[in-house]
Subunit: 228 residues, 2 copies
């Protein structure tokens, strides 16, 4: 047996992806919520990037393994048993998972999060003033194009990268869940994405995320609803 | 047996990482150099992001596997045999490889490439005018801090993530090799990084990169030298 501690920020998409994956793996962990932009954040001494998520695992022998960044944690989860977990066995599907992970890590993060989450989330947290209308519009336009892309995939597939849920679904759902809290996802316009997200949201791993509260911002009316 | 075609751009760090890894694996491939910013680039129909590298593999049965983005290609290379290739067997070292890959994918790309390579490489390619002194300075300062980080690791380790070369070394060396072409790396100030890079540069996989030519820009005086 091992004891796990997760350092995370509840509205960081990478932290959320890891919480979902740990939940899927039914690995119990204790939580240390962190605010990485504040002095003295404990993650600063654990991860050179200063960013959550960081998972610390102490085994029975007292040795500790420190996993920094979502990819390291998802990789460890994948490899701790012989069974495929969130990576499919098929080579083409694995490649598709990795293509989509790169897409969300770069494209989605740069085009949507760096604009829309910056305005809606980082500005209030860091007291950077009110959101700018132009940036909100640009971020919302970018989000639309990503939802169109996802709708195209999910109209043909049960999961983003193929037949069953993978790291790609976990990461994509983590991103959308943060935007959904702020009411930024127009689900009705993307029926295949909505059906996919409803299925994911109904899984037990999603429950802790639905209980998160952002200071000073109420969740969208449908954020907690499994049937929205 | 399989036939491989690599679509790549010679000065794209991700494309270079894949060429190095294919070379390390001694996998022969034919090359299709691409210019992803031009209309009709063949990668546009292969990878939804429109970006190289893309590796197409046709097996003897005529089935094709299309691998888009460096992570998918490195992942396939890792998994095609049972032997560890560029991921160490040890869980802590694997986590360190993945932490560093995330670092180069995000931090290095955002802080160095998006500034310094934009000024030195993208501006002439896209005819965006001369480089700006302020951006060059900012990119060079950022590069210094990354070289300091690497020097710290390589003063204690033979390879970036541990004892033997891994995906992290391949990706980091690919990034530095592009900057080195443009004379942007002050090797003398980072002796451990220099020793590490000399060792990598002497490997057969590096040879094709040393033959690359950027239109209108001569390589730095030491770019081709194995002993610099």
């Amino acid at each position: 047996m091992s004891a796990c501690v997760l350092y995370h920020f509840a509205f960081d998409p990478g932290s959320r992806a890891v919480r979902l994956a740990l939940g899927e793996a039914r690995i119990g962990f204790s939580e240390t919520p962190v605010r990485p932009w504040e002095d003295g954040c404990p993650v600063a001494t654990l991860n050179p990037s200063g960013m959550p998520p960081v998972l610390q695992i102490a085994d029975a022998g007292g040795r500790a393994l420190t996993l920094c960044e979502p990819a390291a944690i998802l990789g460890w989860l994948e490899e701790r048993t012989k069974e495929p977990f969130l990576l499919p066995a098929d080579a083409a599907e694995r490649a598709e998972v990795r293509r989509l992970l790169a897409w969300f890590d770069r494209r989605f993060t740069d085009e949507v999060n760096a604009v829309l989450l910056h305005e809606r989330m980082e500005k209030p947290l860091l007291r950077l003033g009110p959101p700018e209308a132009r940036a909100l519009r640009a971020g919302r336009e970018a989000l639309k194009s990503h939802l169109v892309m996802m709708e195209g995939l999910l109209a043909q597939r049960d999961a983003l990268a193929g037949r069953r849920i993978s790291q790609a679904d976990i990461v994509a759902a983590a991103h959308l869940s943060v935007l959904d809290y702020f009411g930024e996802v127009s689900w009705a316009a993307y029926p295949a994405v909505k059906t996919w997200y409803m299925k994911l949201k109904s899984r037990p791993c999603f429950r802790p995320l639905l209980a998160d509260r952002f200071p000073g911002v109420q969740a969208s009316a449908w954020y907690h609803d499994l049937d929205f």
